[in-house]
């Protein structure tokens, strides 16, 4: 419905036809290995290699970075990434593995790096050849992001970096990192600077990557230790001391509220990737119809029915929010809906999986290592993993502060 009421520009219409045609012939098909729910959960190198090949082929075809300038590896188009994304979703493709590169690093590099750095780094970012990770969080800088302790000290034309980053998704596969760190200890916000730094080529030469094991038992994120890593000054983004401003570019794109639309494939059903769908209320209905409670199916239980319908209302409302966000006369603050999206999306998935626990009853005790687990234990995995995203990218408590302060105009909680 959201698509039907917006007419494509001539350029978009032509590009849409092109995407449809290309996707009809170049869909990568079913994956040969289990693909996790999202790129941040990638831990199997075979899954990564397969997804990188898919991103590469989509990039070569012009479906990645459509709206970026040609000289930096982009397509030089206008408002076409959203068309490519829609068509990839429609074609039910796998996701792109370089999610941090595409969603956060690319716009930040484009808006704040030197041209030579853009042309060096962006093409390999778009193709997926270079995987990127994000070095923001630290043991003492979680929700209080500006409390950065990792320090970059100027030495001639270079910087020497020391510090400790945590919760670094994809660092075990990453060639590059976007790094927020401190260059001045006397000023909390204006003492921050922003760099892009090599990871893979610097391992053992100032960089150590250690896996952190999640509560699910999966790997996927890491801690990254910097010990006298030397980085050329050309990899600094924007001015010394402007790190907070640059980080805001990253964060606004991460939260889906940035200027550029993130290249995002996806839509491949979870049945195709791993055997169970855990992402929608309709999957919950299927689960309920096949689970039992008091001698009837869970789908006959009035309380379970009510919970499922609540989720369906939230899903529809999210869709209609996106539609209304495009109607200025029905919006009283331009960021009111965009700034809600991270919060709403992550809590939706968490609540969905929580209801699955209730539906499964005693069988909800079974996990991936038990053949009798309903849906292969994927709902339980999804529930635990859902906390990754309600915490990451600014915990949802911080998101609520942002909405209260920026949209409602309430006093700052700091």
């Amino acid at each position: 419905m959201a698509d039907a009421d917006r007419k494509d520009t001539p350029e978009q219409a032509e590009f849409r036809t092109y995407c449809q045609d290309w996707l009809a012939h170049n869909h990568p098909g079913k994956p040969p290995v289990r693909i996790p729910l999202g790129a941040l959960e990638l831990s199997d190198p075979k899954a990564l290699t397969w997804l990188q090949a898919w991103q590469r082929s989509a990039f070569d075809a012009g479906l990645v970075g459509c709206d970026y300038p040609v000289e930096f590896g982009g397509g030089g188009r206008k408002n076409c990434q959203t068309i490519a994304n829609q068509e990839m979703q429609r074609a039910k493709t796998p996701f792109f593995p370089n999610i941090i590169g595409l969603g956060m690093a690319a716009p930040t590099v484009l808006f704040h790096a030197q041209d030579s750095v853009k042309s060096d780094l962006l093409p390999r970012l778009f193709s997926g050849e270079d995987i990127w990770c994000q070095g923001f969080s630290e043991p003492g800088a979680g929700s209080d992001l500006a409390n950065q302790q990792t320090f970059a000290e100027r030495r001639g034309d270079s910087w020497v970096i020391n510090g400790h980053k945590v919760w670094t998704s994809l660092a075990h596969f990453a060639s590059w990192m976007i790094l927020l760190c401190r260059t001045d200890k006397s000023d909390k916000y204006n003492g921050l600077s922003y760099f892009v730094v090599p990871i893979q080529t610097a391992i053992g030469k100032g960089v150590t990557v250690r896996p952190l094991i999640k509560m699910t038992g999966e790997t996927g994120f890491n801690e990254v230790i910097f010990e006298d890593l030397v980085v050329e000054d050309r990899y600094r983004l924007d001015a010394v001391g402007a790190g907070w401003k640059v980080a805001m570019t990253t964060l606004s794109h991460e939260r889906g509220a940035g200027e550029l639309v993130t290249p995002a494939a996806g839509g491949m059903t979870q049945e195709d990737t791993k055997g169970a769908n855990t992402g929608s209320p309709s999957a919950l209905i299927e689960l309920a119809k096949n689970s039992y409670r008091n001698g009837k199916t869970a789908a006959d239980d009035p309380l379970i029915r009510d919970e499922i319908v609540k989720m369906m209302i939230r899903q529809e409302a999210f869709r209609q929010n996106q539609r209304r966000a495009l109607v200025p006369q029905l919006i009283d603050h331009p960021m009111r809906i965009p700034l809600q999206n991270k919060l709403i999306g992550t809590e939706f998935n968490q609540d969905l999986a929580e209801i699955a626990y209730a539906i499964e009853g005693p069988a909800s005790s079974l996990y991936l290592n038990d053949d009798n687990a309903p849906g292969g234990g994927e709902w339980q995995l999804a529930y635990m993993n859902s906390f990754g995203v309600t915490i990451a990218a600014g915990a949802n408590e911080v998101q609520r502060n942002i909405l209260a302060e920026r949209v409602l105009g309430m006093p700052k909680s700091k």
């Binding site: 419905m1 009421d5 529809e316 929010n321 539609r323 109607v327 809906i337 209260a404 949209v407 006093p411």
Partner: protein, 384 residues
């Protein structure tokens, strides 16, 4: 899937109408004025009154609000439902004491009757006659086929319950049963044999009554059996307009509470500094936005599907809009009173006007649980 217009069909005309309504209310219906008008007597055992400003009603009729959703063929303006939704949102934001929503509801029902008598009643609405629906039985059922009124030989007998804005309305659209099913009938509110008994209700911005009919001569606007169908066809529009009223009132409660917590100082800080206050207010905002998006999308779906080709989708959206708005109305009201603290608990604070209107709105034409149960049957399948 039915093709829908851009921007929910909310174009320049609708924007102008909405903006002029907002201006009208800020000029004529400020909360202090309404409070002086409808809340001048706090006595629990006060006489049941019906207080409203008829000159304002005349003005909004002259502005074309009652004609907005009357078809052009019946002497109206023929605007889409999103226009009524926008007016209802503004009326809710002002807690406007008037039969506007009731008259809209009568309009939606009469539009579905497609008879000369119904069109004549619509023409009266277009020229500013307030009307309301008398279609609910003593059990408070929202089912179109449920009524305690019987029709025999063109005469009504029995009682209609929970009639909204009854003493403000000049015309009643009554559902009544005969052997051939439920029909709809137009009765002048002052007709012989109509006995109206006012209900003592909590909402100060409305009036409500039960109405006894004893052999009242009535004009048939929908034949027996067709009346309940017309009602069923009008229900989504009715639900959506009520949802919009709650969205407007919810936004008033949110903004007023934000303002209060920004200025009220405790522990040397404004209350709004504390996340125990801040976060629930953000949750109220999320709830309002969901309800608003669902209300406009449901209205647009109704506008886009006059032939009811995709009726299940349209009904689904309307049920969702009313369910979400009803829950939001309760939540926004409760947080507004709570965060206003002691003053929020008093009669002098305007919050209670909106609290009471929201608690009334949330149950009208089905509360959240009612609509979710309907949705469960549609989306999951009937329970065994």
């Amino acid at each position: 899937m039915i093709e829908q217009p851009k921007n929910f069909g909310f174009g320049e005309d609708e924007t102008m109408l909405r903006d002029s309504a907002a201006k009208f209310f800020s000029d004529h219906c400020t909360p202090d004025k309404i409070h002086r008008q409808v809340a001048n007597n706090s006595n629990i055992h006060r006489n049941i009154e019906c207080i409203w400003d008829k000159t304002l009603w005349r003005q909004i009729a002259d502005l074309g609000w009652t004609a907005a959703c009357v078809p052009e063929s019946a002497g109206g303006i023929g605007m889409p439902l999103v226009a009524a939704v926008a007016l209802a949102e503004e009326a809710g934001r002002a807690a406007f004491p008037s039969p506007l929503i009731s008259t809209f509801n009568a309009t939606f029902v009469l539009r579905e009757c497609r008879t000369a008598n119904a069109n004549a009643a619509l023409a009266e609405i277009a020229s500013g006659k307030p009307m309301t629906l008398a279609i609910t039985n003593q059990q408070g059922s929202w089912e179109p086929s449920d009524t305690d009124v019987l029709v025999d030989n063109g005469q009504l007998s029995g009682t209609a319950w929970f009639v909204q804005d009854a003493r403000k309305a000049e015309g009643l659209i009554v559902s009544a049963r005969s052997a051939a099913g439920v029909g709809l009938y137009y009765v002048a509110a002052n007709a012989a044999g109509v006995l109206m008994t006012a209900d003592g209700i909590i909402d100060l911005t409305r009036d409500q009554a039960h109405i006894n009919f004893s052999g009242v001569n009535a004009i048939e606007v929908a034949a027996p059996g067709l009346g309940e169908i017309a009602l069923a066809h009008a229900l989504p529009a009715i639900q959506v307009v009520l949802a919009a009223d709650m969205v407007g009132a919810g936004e008033w409660l949110l903004q007023t509470t934000v303002e209060y917590t920004n200025t009220r100082i405790q522990f040397d800080r404004p209350l709004g500094f504390f996340q125990a206050v801040k976060h629930p207010l953000v949750n109220v905002m999320l709830d309002i936005d969901r309800a608003k998006s669902l209300a406009y999308s449901a209205a647009c779906a109704i506008d886009s599907d006059p032939e009811r080709k995709d009726w299940a989708t349209t009904r689904k959206l309307a049920h969702m809009a009313k369910a979400n708005a009803s829950d939001m109305a309760v939540f926004a009201s409760s947080r507004a009173v709570q965060f206003h603290g002691g003053i929020g608990f008093t009669w002098e604070c305007y919050v209670h006007l909106f609290f009471k209107r929201q608690m009334h709105n949330q149950m009208l034409f089905g509360d959240a649980k009612y609509h979710r149960a309907m949705l469960a049957d549609m989306l999951i399948g009937k329970a065994s």
